[in-house]
Symmetry: C2
Subunit: 294 residues, 2 copies
């Protein structure tokens, strides 16, 4: 049997993403030893019950010992604590990667704390569901989705290649771009849609009671798609908005201007403006279907 891609993988965080990756390794890389680290005892217990870890610990320092790959899959707000905790215990030549949704903030939090004898490859598998926790994961979650790596100018290409191979094992297509660019693209494709979904579902929550119960009953007309997005993990999303503040606020500003323009067209009965705008957006949908991301 050929050597596994990684001998020993430490997963710092074993939620939706971490546990899905563990399932991929279990399935496709049986020679890999998986160490799962989480703060809460219930989470570790779940990881054991699911059989997706060979060892579990609540201590990040213990988890990374002897690991040739460390995957940080915790909320972004935990990075500042995790970096200094694991740094002294990282093996020479270990690769450290992460799955955080904001790469600028991930790099700012981790890079200064990591020793020069390890390779840091920031990454973001763009996949997920509205569920969270180790029970919600599944190996096929990554299939045909994109993983974006944002290596630093001095990141060793071999380390990038090995992290690329990891996500390809999970069925992902892998792209590389600067962290700042990633954060702008995701602000538009993911962060702003989530903010808006959270907002509109919140607006409905505040409705008078009779109206609210009917909004729930008759949610089939578009609203329920928003509620699915707005059911995503609150802590993770709090962290994302705080960590990608500038790019989100910029995209939100553009969105608000466009919304105001449509609002004005509705108020003044400008049907042509509305129809023209609505027809344009169909083209984007077609592009997404052609890009096989629909």
């Amino acid at each position: 049997m050929s050597a596994p891609l990684f001998e020993r993988v430490a997963l710092i965080g074993i939620g939706l993403i971490g546990s899905s990756l563990a399932r991929v390794l279990r399935r496709d890389s049986p020679g890999t030893t998986i160490v799962a680290c989480a703060r809460r005892a219930e989470t570790l217990e779940a990881a054991r019950r699911l059989g997706i870890a060979d060892a579990t610990t609540d201590d990040p320092a213990a988890a990374v010992r002897d690991a040739d790959l460390v995957v940080i899959a915790a909320p972004l707000s935990a990075y500042a604590e995790i970096g200094p905790r694991i740094a002294p215990h990282l093996r020479d030549g270990a690769i450290v990667t992460d799955v955080g949704s904001v790469k600028g903030a991930a790099i700012d939090a981790l890079q200064p704390t990591l020793p020069s004898h390890v390779h840091f490859v920031p990454g973001h598998p763009v996949a997920g569901t509205e569920h969270s926790g180790p029970e919600a994961g599944f190996a096929e979650m990554f299939r045909d989705r994109w993983c974006i790596l944002t290596p630093l100018p001095d990141t060793a290409p071999e380390a990038v290649a090995r992290v690329t191979a990891l996500w390809q094992l999970a069925g992902m297509r892998v792209a590389t771009m600067p962290a700042e660019h990633h954060d702008k693209v995701l602000a538009m494709t993911s962060h702003l849609p989530h903010l808006i979904a959270y907002t509109i579902v919140g607006t409905a929550t505040d409705l008078e009671d009779t109206l609210k119960s009917e909004v729930i009953a008759f949610s089939a007309g578009g609203f329920r798609d928003f509620t699915r997005i707005a059911a995503s993990d609150p802590v993770m999303w709090r962290d994302i908005f705080l960590a990608n503040r500038e790019a989100v606020l910029e995209m939100l500003q553009r969105f608000s201007e466009d919304l105001t323009a449509l609002q004005r067209a509705i108020r003044w009965g400008e049907g042509e403006t509305l129809e023209k705008r609505f027809a344009e957006t169909r083209a984007i949908r077609r592009s997404i279907i052609e890009a096989k991301q629909a």
Copy 2:
């Protein structure tokens, strides 16, 4: 064999909704004669090819002759023309219903033109997809969704009962409420979500080219759900926003205030406000799942 629910049904408009209803009648009410009416020859040709009509015509007056049920399934902006065209040709005791998404405007356009010897039962089957045209329809589209009827104070209960039976045949649950109330509920559950989806996809359309192509490639993180909604029929949606102007503007105002509050929380780094709001919205999702509308 027992008598069919309706002997002769005239469908004025044979797009997504009209053609889906025709399929239901074909499947579950074989004794019913279906007359399809559309403006465009291609649409009528499609209806014939699909075998979902016994007769086709581009003349609404001819279509409704001898029909005991007339279903107006055309864009709302066509109602003002359709009403006077069909009125003189409606059979005594015929039931006229419609499927328009804004009931106040539907009633305003049709009610004054209809003769007193017919029964008008305004309705709205809350079902659909982002596709349009007769090819896009399917009988199961209505299954387990709600149909809202908004009869007028003087509408005969027997007529309401027969239209109720029609949509129940399609697998729908049927509710009754005043038109004004319907228009408020739908402004929140359907019209505002569509407006927002159209807006955000439009915002992406206007991005610089490099950013735009990557938004398409990496759309999996929430954005693609919006593009599906924003691929809905532009003319139908133009009409909805113009017809339900007041309720949409009211809900939009509430939404904008809530969005501004979250924007402010992001700008000032108020993580607690964000997390609290995001956690609340999960509860709404659970209610929808319990209401079996997810």
